[in-house]
């Protein structure tokens, strides 16, 4: 496998943009990424386009990538459409990475774009339900509630087992809303307190509204090339892709204590990159619901079971801490345009590694970072797809 570098990134701000189409969200991300890389549209040899909901929300079920990219000036080359629920963008990145690592292409583009505000939130939520196995959503499963009770997440039983309080569940949102307040691209820019998060409307006990990510529009893109070719382009600072792992969920019967795919995908990413969790200097992870961050600390081997709230109390994962987590504000504050999220995470890490993250810059600049993105819900496990990427510079 060849070494692969990310040489340019670009993002559209995340938020509510009712007047903008999927194309209009995607263009600034694509053009900024090309410009950032010093690459012309004509230099791109292959493109992966990640999106989850456009089929149901806009009706453009097929050829989503070609429709968007032709107006961005990217035509003729192989364009591969990727749908993998909330992990669509990381899946697109993996495709682009693999093209270059395998030697099939020298320059590749990965795009993730999502248009969720269509003037009818019931329709958007209906489309999101289709990112779960339909046997579940048709039966009346409410997605947020699964975080409370699903065997692999089960926040309620964790509260009992570890003595976590409602305030503990809110802590990631407090931390991440502060980070988001420093991010001009974030959807929600107001720092939140534990009290207002805990006291906001109950969605599914014990999860409250301000612990949930919201409906977002947004887009992000990255340009990748073979690492030894990076000097050919005007990129500010090539960032090496040390590992890029994609796994699917595994069906487990009760009592089967083998690690789940959130854990094994992270372990594989560490192993492929030749590092361990102690080497990480920044992480963007998939906090679709704030308490999921506490659970992911365990899955990424950052702490022992139950110790998540302590990592925040002791400021290990805050912006000034040893391993800042979700410096962008994460899914709850930066926003979660589902098919764009994985690449929004990559954008944030690249900016942090280059020292371009403005007020939320981690000091000293992180040199080893991880993005963790997951999506979909299957009957037998918590998520359908898990993408983990480790970057080095």
């Amino acid at each position: 496998m060849r070494e692969v570098a990310i040489i340019g990134v670009g993002a559209h701000p995340t938020g509510r943009f009712p007047e903008k189409s999927l194309k209009e969200l995607a263009y600034p991300a694509i053009w900024n990424a090309l410009d950032d890389a010093g690459v012309n549209a004509a230099d791109v040899e292959v493109a992966y386009f990640g999106n989850s909901l456009a089929g149901l929300l806009t009706g453009q079920e097929g050829i989503r990538g070609q429709v968007v990219l032709q107006h961005a000036g990217i035509t003729g080359i192989p364009i591969i459409n990727v749908e993998n629920a909330c992990a669509s963008a990381m899946t697109a990145l993996r495709g682009a990475w693999l093209e270059i690592a395998s030697g099939a292409a020298d320059v590749a583009l990965a795009v993730g774009a999502e248009k969720m505000n269509v003037g009818d939130s019931a329709r958007t939520i209906g489309a999101l339900s289709a990112d779960s196995e339909l046997d579940l959503s048709d039966m009346g499963m409410q997605f947020t509630a699964t975080y409370a009770i699903h065997p692999k997440i089960n926040i309620k039983s964790r509260m009992q087992e570890y003595g976590w309080t409602a305030a503990d569940l809110a802590k990631p949102a407090v931390k991440n809303s502060y980070n988001g307040s420093l991010n001009p691209l974030a959807q929600h820019r107001r720092p939140l307190t534990i009290d207002e998060i805990v006291q906001s409307r109950l969605v599914a006990e014990p999860l409250t509204l301000l612990m949930c990510s919201s409906i977002s529009d947004g887009a992000a893109a990255a340009v990748l090339c073979a690492a030894d070719l990076a000097p050919r382009f005007a990129s500010r600072m090539p960032i090496r892709v040390a590992s890029c792992v994609l796994q699917s969920g595994v069906y487990r019967l009760p009592g089967d204590e083998r690690p789940d795919s959130a854990t094994t995908s992270a372990s594989a990413a560490y192993e492929n990159a030749g590092i361990g969790p102690d080497d990480l200097q920044a992480i963007e992870l998939h906090d679709a619901m704030a308490p999921a961050e506490l659970m992911l600390y365990e899955r990424l081997s950052l702490c022992a079971p139950g110790e998540g709230p302590r990592l925040i109390d002791e400021q290990v994962t805050t912006l000034g801490g040893r391993i800042p987590v979700n410096p962008s504000g994460g899914l709850c504050s930066r926003g979660h345009p589902v098919g764009a999220t994985g690449l929004l995470q990559i954008c944030e890490l690249v900016w942090q590694m280059r020292g371009e993250a403005g007020q939320r810059q981690i000091e000293p600049r992180p040199k080893v970072t991880m993005a963790q993105n997951q999506g979909g819900l299957l009957l037998g496990q918590d998520s359908a797809a898990y993408g983990v990427t480790i970057l080095k510079c």
Partner: protein, 97 residues
């Protein structure tokens, strides 16, 4: 692959009350996972005979299989599904109570 017939009993593994509902369902409503003695742990709604209120259900309690319409909307009235109900509804936990 092996086909297994399931019985009518289960044990409540976890539950919560959802205060927002997808189209066709009325919030608040219970969401649950139950353990079948045959092995699987499955998602289930709780039968409509059970009043939706905190404290009514307790993880670990014995449940029984029932069949009733999946959703409340007229267009799905004929669509039946499995749900589970506590074998013994606690006093005052009946939806009509």
């Amino acid at each position: 692959m092996q086909e297994i017939e399931i019985g009518r009993t289960a044990k409540l593994y976890s539950h919560t009350i959802a205060y927002v509902a997808p189209k066709g369902f009325t919030a608040p409503y219970f969401q649950a996972f139950v353990d079948l003695p045959e092995g699987p742990r499955i998602f289930s709604l709780v039968g409509s005979a059970c009043r939706v209120e905190r404290g009514v259900l307790e993880d670990g309690m014995q449940m029984r299989l029932i069949v009733e319409p999946v959703a409340d909307t007229p267009e799905r009235r004929d669509e039946l599904t499995y749900k589970y109900l506590p074998v013994q509804l606690p006093a005052g936990a009946h939806a009509d109570a």
